[in-house]
């Protein structure tokens, strides 16, 4: 692109009078990959800070090791692949942070470290790096931890939610169920094992939830993060709205409390920050709607009709897999491509 000053020029041409050439547009928007990643991280900061306030040092170590694992793995693999090291674009930092937010706070330090490494290695670099992965890297990392060390993943909460909502004898009766968040208790209610008024959990879920993962401490701060993303036009509103909306509607239909269904578990974090991951959701507006509604349906199915207590992670991963198919078939109608029937109707 650069034209050297000493280039051969026509005789009448004064040297040093040459300009750059290139195809229009000649001006570009200020946003770059790293600025976008930076803003998403910024949108997560209030939540992260509050989580550290609630969970203390355990949240700090989980977040630190998760990000360290992700960034170190990105650096090492890119050096091995002999490609440009793109740690500076902050995408690995974001992956590490998102992974940490989906983990219980009291994990041994090596688990987030492995999770971060797996997220980048198996979730991203194995496909060719940023932009090429099919599945959300953070959720790939979490899924591997979940199936490999499910005991840690279901018991490392700050407060055992079972103790908070039910008495010990009930717990023994239903001990087969593993994961333990307010969602767990809600499931027991639905199964008639315990009586619970879901609305008494609205307030703690919104303002300070000690039973969940690092990133589930406050639904309100997740929504604040979403507001930042929407204000900066970084994500499309269709995904969080359609995802959470589908879950609420379906929960209502099968008789569960829709507000509780929206606030509890990983739904809001998943719908606002995971399902909206650029790389792994469809490109078109209607594609995004299909993707989000699909996530909602799978989440409700997994929550209520499987042995898993929570369905957000697998729902998003499953729909990630469907994304290439959606992108292939859901295309916007180009301007001027008037259907033959419509034109006949217009003319008559």
């Amino acid at each position: 692109m650069t034209m050297p000053d000493n280039a051969d020029t026509p005789a009448e041409q004064e040297p040093r009078q040459l300009f750059h050439i290139g195809v229009s547009p000649h001006i570009r928007d200020a946003d770059t990959t790293s600025s976008i990643m930076g803003w998403v991280i910024a949108a997560l900061l209030p939540l992260t800070a509050y989580s550290i306030y609630i969970c203390g040092l355990s949240a700090v170590t989980t977040i630190f090791y998760s990000i360290a694992g992700a960034v170190a793995t990105e650096y090492i693999i890119q050096r091995i692949r002999k490609v440009h090291v793109t740690v500076g674009d902050l995408s690995a930092v974001l992956t590490g942070l998102l992974l940490a937010l989906t983990l219980p706070p009291r994990l041994p330090f090596w688990m987030p470290l492995i999770g971060g490494a797996v997220a980048i290695a198996m979730g991203k670099q194995v496909f060719g790096g940023l932009g090429h992965n099919i599945f959300n890297p953070a959720l790939v990392g979490r899924a591997v931890l979940f199936v490999s060390w499910s005991k840690y993943m279901t018991t490392s909460y700050l407060v055992d939610p079972r103790a908070a909502v039910v008495n010990t004898s009930t717990i023994k009766a239903i001990d087969a169920v593993t994961k333990a968040t307010p969602l767990f208790a809600e499931g027991q209610v639905r199964k008639g094992l315990l009586v619970l008024d879901a609305s008494r959990y609205y307030r703690p879920l919104l303002f300070g939830n000690p039973w969940g993962c690092v990133g589930e401490v406050s639904a309100l701060l997740i929504l604040l993060g979403l507001a930042i993303l929407l204000y900066k036009r970084l994500v499309d509103w269709r995904i969080p709205v359609c995802y959470v909306g589908t879950v609420m509607v379906l929960s209502r239909i099968i008789g569960a409390d829709p507000i509780f269904a929206a606030l509890a578990g990983g739904l809001l974090l998943g719908a606002c920050f995971m399902a909206t991951d650029y790389v792994t959701n469809p490109m078109t507006a209607w594609g995004k709607v299909i993707f989000a509604v699909g996530c909602g349906i799978v989440t409700v199915v997994l929550r209520f009709y499987s042995s898993l207590p929570e369905g957000v992670m697998f729902a998003i991963l499953l729909m990630n897999g469907v994304t290439p198919l959606i992108d292939r078939y859901v295309k916007p109608r180009p301007y001027g491509a008037i259907k033959a029937t419509a034109r006949v109707a217009e003319e008559s």
Binding site: Q13, Q17, H20, G22, S24, P25, D31, Y335, G336
Partner: protein, 458 residues
């Protein structure tokens, strides 16, 4: 505009981006530009056939004298913008990028008018054919940048009556303010030119379209249009609102069919600059020998809206505005979104040159080096005014997959640059799409040749 239509225009608006307008020259009166010692007038300043010179070296020519013309229907003659001596008929750099046969004229500084320059008569008593003939002889082309010969646009096709003449004053390109100033300073003349266009195409109404960010132009056009049956439509400020197809969609609610023309939906669009030039042609008999353009950007010392003689070299215009400042970046003929980057200042202003924008090196290249790795953010799809899928078109073009590219309707792309502008990874999408269009066309031609060859064998 009624409330219903206003609301519909908000609903209908789609796609587009909001580049920093940088219209610092919007309040500056149009000044006469430099009196160049020499002009270089290309024989191709329009879409269509190149003109043949009708003068010879050492001929003495006068302002408004025809110096090039063509037998072809889709072409427009060119006229001398100065009086003086023809010193050469040579291949010369052209804003379009290739060298074009051009007529060099050394000015005698007197700017004597040609005797041919005289009012052609009252357009109100002329037939549409007579109006078209005058417009053709005046060398009129679309001044918005497209450069399509105006007399062709003023010839309605059989069975496609034109109801509405849209006068395009959207001027959505950043920096460019020539149309804005024309509307503020020459509103009545623009309306007069629009009436002549309306008469030539047999239309029923005139709509002047202006973006919301030009309140003074809106007011002046409303004043000028009062009692003339002219409707001024205020459009949202958004690039590329002035693109013909988008303009029509936002004003009429109709989409121009793919590969169709505005007349398919009963509309003809002309730029305000063209309307003004047509007024001038019928008022004074002056053919298209000068135009208003904006000089701006941080690479040039002075900013201005100038009335510049066609054929004036960019160098003379820049020197007239105080010269270049800062490290050389880009010299753009037209606006920064769709204009053409020039490697030299030694290139003439042509009929379609709406601006000379000079940007410094640091302004253009301050961002981190491009990775060209699509992160699938979807902004290009969201903002494409034609509802295409730029990221996929770029990828298929890069891979040379012409069939898949054609399936994405790449030929409908208007190359407005919204996708490449908004792309956070700075993917050169317009460049890839241009290459892709070439590839699709080449492949089609090859297939046709093969089919013809095989059928002739049988």
């Amino acid at each position: 505009m009624g409330l219903a239509q206003r609301m519909r225009s908000w609903v209908l608006t789609r796609g587009g981006v909001h580049p920093d307008p940088r219209k610092e020259t919007a309040t500056m009166m149009v000044f006469p530009g430099p009196s160049p010692e020499q002009v270089v007038i290309p024989l191709l300043q329009h879409v269509g056939a190149v003109c043949e010179p009708v003068v010879e070296v050492h001929d003495h020519v006068l302002v408004g004298q025809k110096i090039g013309d063509s037998e072809e229907y889709i072409s427009a003659p060119v006229h001398s913008s100065v009086s003086g001596e023809v010193t050469g008929i040579v291949m010369y750099p052209h804003p379009g990028g290739r060298d074009v046969l051009s007529i060099q004229i050394l000015s005698d500084g007197r700017n004597q008018l040609s005797p041919d320059v005289k009012p052609p008569g009252d357009p109100a008593s002329m037939t549409p054919e007579e109006i078209r003939r005058v417009v053709r002889e005046g060398g009129m082309v679309g001044l918005g940048g497209g450069g399509f010969p105006t007399h062709v646009k003023l010839s309605p096709s059989a069975g496609k009556p034109i109801e509405t003449v849209i006068i395009n004053g959207a001027e959505c390109e950043p920096y460019i303010t020539g149309d804005h100033r024309l509307m503020v300073e020459r509103g009545a003349q623009i309306i007069n030119g629009a009436q002549i266009i309306k008469r030539a195409v047999g239309a029923e109404r005139i709509v002047v379209a202006v973006e919301r960010n030009k309140p003074d132009a809106i007011q002046r056009m409303r004043e000028a249009g009062t009692g003339e049956g002219v409707e001024v439509v205020v459009l949202p400020s958004r690039y590329p609102m002035g693109a013909e197809k988008l303009l029509i969609y936002n004003i009429t609610g109709h989409e121009v069919p793919a590969r169709g023309l505005p007349r398919d939906v009963g509309v003809e669009v002309n730029n305000v600059g063209t309307a003004y030039a047509i007024h001038d042609l019928f008022d004074r008999g002056m053919p298209l020998v000068e135009r208003v353009l904006t000089v701006s950007g941080d690479g040039v010392a002075g900013h201005a809206n100038l009335r510049v003689r066609i054929g004036t070299l960019a160098r003379d215009v820049i020197d007239f505005c105080g010269g270049l400042v800062g490290e050389r970046g880009k010299l753009i003929m037209g606006g920064p979104m769709m204009g053409l980057a020039q490697y030299t200042t030694n290139v003439p202003v042509v009929k379609g040159t709406s601006g000379i924008i000079v940007l410094r090196h640091e302004t253009l290249f301050r961002q981190e080096p491009a990775q060209f790795t699509c992160i699938r953010c979807g902004r290009c799809v969201r903002d494409c005014p034609m509802n295409l899928m730029p990221y996929a078109m770029g990828a298929y073009s890069d891979a040379g997959l012409w069939d898949q590219l054609e399936n994405l309707d790449v030929m409908d792309c208007i190359e407005c640059g919204s996708c490449a502008y908004i792309c956070p990874t700075k993917n050169p999408l317009v460049q890839l799409i241009k290459v892709g269009k070439e590839g699709v066309t080449r492949r089609k031609r090859k297939v046709e040749t093969l089919e013809r060859a095989s059928s002739s064998k049988e």
